[in-house]
């Protein structure tokens, strides 16, 4: 034999050996031993379970183009008998989609085709979408369910809410997020008391007010000074509105105790702390007032109390019906109490503006895209947004700038760290530091991960219809806008969620009661922190509103219930049903006894309409899906008796 033949023989044998290795490797795959383990452990289960055929298993979802082999090891996914089995054999929790029809990776992400533990479960730089940790799992719900705010994706909804609250759309394009109201900066130089406050604020807003929404831009001292000079040079308000001069009585009496006390009384009567925090107490809807007198000057405060929408169109604060004297008294009260005593006195003599402060300030203003949030009427303002985030969830790993950070390379790690400490991936980035808790960071990351390319058939998409837009007309619209009703109340799908929905208020409440309530609003629910403020609303306006409630804001199915229905019923039986059978007193106060989860029921007969009580008793969830009051399934007869009993609870019989 020649040499060449020998070599040929050796290599052939080698090739054969190599060919034999691959089936062997397949034979020794991990999943085979897992399946065999499963088969040998079957006797330990209480119920009889069929052994599994040893072999690769997969779910093929043709429409989605997904082949997931997870079921090779996760054997019991759709077998309810295996609920208590150890991992990886146990049953999948009952979710909204059948795993057999949707596969696994559509929700969990990861490499569905892989058959090796590490390739599937570990992070790999060769796979952009590794297995999603549980805490972000709601992100994949949001891929198909766009804008639906499902009640089982609280983390995703919360993330979206925070993104809206911190006005991320000021700098990043995000789908379906509305821009939030942020105070404009026109006339800021006539509003702020002096440079010192502005310097402190720009250095670190959170140090001035612990709940400040504005993030910390980590400005250098030079930058802070330049920006302060720049901003303080804006003296005239939007549309050259002139502030009213403060009445003479203010200068004459501002240090008199009587005058200050009048302001204090009005301040309390209007329930300003329903929205504003003062000394750690009060609402969080509006700015903390504790140091406001050191921030804004008296003239501005006076004008703002008279009509907040004059300087800041679109601001949430209602226009209270204070007289000029009352407004001046409140100003005096604020000036005497809400002062930052730690703020050093201004040293005016030393400081001189550098010559080029305006150009430099404008450059800084543009660099950090301040105009993304704040309006400012000046020439040369440019929009300078950050990256678009519309498809951030589909970003590939190689597109990400990691800088010198040593973070495991996954998209969710990138997002979480970027939100937590934005400058971690390089000093040149502009993103400011937001004051967020760990839970909030988690929620925002989940929301951002949900913004992915649509790479599945469109019939899988579930897009929420655009919310109905509510347009009141004429006089009513003016009143609703003036008193900012829709900041707290919702009417026909538009408005806030703090106070009760008013969409069918005309069918619910007695008009006489509403009239009195406007005059002296009190808190129906003691546990709710936000209270209806006293708006000092005029009688004419009340009449217009009542008329509107009674003609437009109705629910026909309630209004058509005839009142005679309640005549022929048994009060005593209603009373015993109230206290014995349904135990209503555990949540409602009546005659000083009972809980305060729901509103007190004293004099309820003066407040509610009987048709409404009846409808509510039959099915509370129909009118308010998230209410805690359980649906009792009470028969109509009993509901009629209880309604009669409640209607008998009147002040004047």
């Amino acid at each position: 034999m020649t040499n060449i033949k020998k070599i040929y023989a050796v290599t052939s044998i080698l090739f054969l050996a190599i060919l034999a290795i691959s089936p062997l490797k397949n034979y020794f795959q991990e999943w085979r031993s897992i399946q065999k383990n499963f088969n040998s452990s079957l006797e330990s289960y209480p119920q009889k379970i069929k052994p599994v055929d040893v072999g690769l298993k997969q779910i093929w979802v043709q429409e989605l183009g997904k082949i997931d082999r997870c079921t090779s090891c996760h054997i019991g996914i759709s077998d309810s008998k295996l609920v208590t089995a150890p991992e990886p054999f146990s049953t999948h929790p009952r979710v909204f989609h059948d795993p057999e029809k949707f596969g696994c990776t559509i929700c969990h992400q990861g490499q569905g085709l892989a058959t090796n533990y590490n390739d599937i479960h570990e992070v790999s730089e060769f796979w952009d979408k590794p297995l999603l940790p549980d805490k972000y799992i709601e992100a994949t719900c949001g891929r198909c369910h766009i804008g639906q705010n499902l009640k089982d994706t609280p983390n995703l909804n919360y993330g979206k809410e925070i993104v809206e609250d911190f006005n991320c759309v000021g700098c990043h394009d995000l789908p379906g997020i509305k821009k939030k109201f942020v105070p404009g900066l026109d006339g800021i130089g006539s509003k702020v008391t002096g440079r010192q406050w502005m310097v402190n604020w720009l250095k670190n807003p959170n140090k001035v007010l612990s709940k400040a929404k504005m993030p910390n831009f980590l400005f250098s001292d030079d930058e802070v000074n330049t920006l302060t000079d720049f901003l303080m040079s804006f003296k005239s308000f939007t549309g050259s509105v002139q502030p009213d001069s403060i009445p003479k009585i203010y200068e004459q009496r501002k240090e008199e105790d009587d005058f200050i006390n009048l302001g204090k009384t009005k301040f309390r009567e209007a329930r300003c702390i329903s929205c504003h925090t003062v000394e750690g107490k009060g609402g969080h809807l509006a700015v903390d007032l504790i140091k406001v007198a050191s921030k804004a000057n008296a003239t501005w405060i006076y004008n703002y109390i008279r009509n907040p929408k004059k300087f800041q169109p679109g601001v949430a604060m209602p226009q209270f019906g204070f007289s000029s004297e009352e407004a001046a008294a409140i100003t005096a009260y604020i000036e005497s109490e809400f002062v930052d005593w730690d703020l050093p006195d201004e040293d005016k003599s030393d400081y001189k503006h550098p010559a080029d402060f305006f150009a430099k300030g404008l450059a800084l203003f543009n660099k950090y895209n301040c105009s993304g949030c704040h309006n400012l009427s000046a020439n040369g303002i440019a929009v300078n947004k950050g990256p678009e985030l519309e498809l951030i969830g589909s970003k590939n790993l190689y597109q990400i700038e990691w800088g010198s950070s040593s973070i495991t390379h996954t998209l969710y790690n990138f997002l979480e760290n970027k939100i937590k400490s934005p400058r971690i991936f390089g000093d040149q980035t502009r993103m400011p530091v937001f004051n967020l808790s760990g839970k909030q960071v988690e929620a925002i990351t989940t929301y951002l991960l949900s913004l992915q390319k649509i790479d599945f058939p469109f019939n899988y998409l579930q897009i929420a219809p655009p919310p109905p837009v509510y347009f009141p007309k004429g006089e009513v619209a003016k009143i609703i806008n003036k008193y900012s009703c829709l900041q707290c109340h919702k009417i026909e799908g538009t408005g806030g969620t703090i106070a009760p929905d008013l969409s069918i208020v005309g069918s619910q409440l007695q008009l006489n009661w509403i009239k009195k309530y406007f005059e002296v609003p009190y808190s129906l629910r003691p546990i709710v922190e936000e209270r209806m403020p006293k708006l000092f609303i005029s009688n004419k306006e009340i009449e217009t509103l009542l008329n509107y409630f009674n003609t437009e804001l109705l629910d026909d199915s309630i209004s058509f219930i005839e009142e005679t229905l309640f005549n022929n019923s048994n009060i005593d039986k209603g009373k015993s049903l109230y206290s014995q059978k349904y135990g209503c007193q555990s949540c409602h106060i009546l005659d000083g006894k009972g809980g305060y989860v729901g509103p007190p029921l004293d004099n309820i007969g003066d407040r509610l309409k009987p048709e409404w009580i009846f409808s509510w008793l039959i099915n509370p969830q129909k009118y308010k899906p998230e209410t805690i009051e359980p649906r009792t399934g009470m028969p109509e007869k009993e509901a009629i008796d209880i309604t009669r009993y409640l209607m008998s609870l009147k002040k004047e019989k």
């Binding site: 009952r94 805490k135 009792t632």
Partner: protein, 145 residues
């Protein structure tokens, strides 16, 4: 010729050894300290503590039950002080061991009266479906100390 053969074999052998290495976890830079911090955060978070059913139960519990039973189920919700019979602590393992899953289901579905307990505990069978009640029970069982 022998040389060629050995080179050939070496090439094949290296091919195999490379393939073996791929089974190791991918060697991407890990920052140990960062990992420790993340783990500490995770062990406190609900994602590590509860499974899917329990998490859903937790949300339901906080919404419907916590006003009386308290956030930790200790019977100290703000409304518990207004009740004639204060709710029993659900964290009391001695008490809870005597309540089977079926009894709990009955009390939640048909109210306290169904089990000779207070009528101040309302019935939820018309408000929650049977799965939601199961989630609630699986969460309540984690409250025991």
């Amino acid at each position: 010729m022998k040389k060629i053969a050995t080179i050939f074999i070496i090439i094949i052998a290296t091919g195999f050894s490379c393939k073996e290495e791929r089974n190791e976890p991918d060697s991407i830079a890990y920052n140990d300290t960062l990992k420790v911090i993340d783990q500490a955060y995770e062990s406190n978070s609900i994602w590590a503590k509860y499974n899917y059913d329990q998490r859903r139960g937790k949300r339901l519990f906080e919404h419907y039950c916590s006003v009386c039973h308290g956030l930790k189920g200790e019977g100290d919700g703000f409304n518990s002080y207004n009740l004639i019979s204060k709710p029993h602590s659900l964290a009391d393992s001695v008490y809870m061991k005597n309540l089977t899953k079926e009894t709990l289901n009955q009390i939640i579905s048909f109210g306290g009266v169904s089990n000779n307990k207070s009528n101040e505990m309302p019935a939820y069978s018309y408000t929650l479906n049977k799965y939601q009640i199961d989630y609630l029970i699986s969460y309540i069982n984690t409250l025991m100390q």
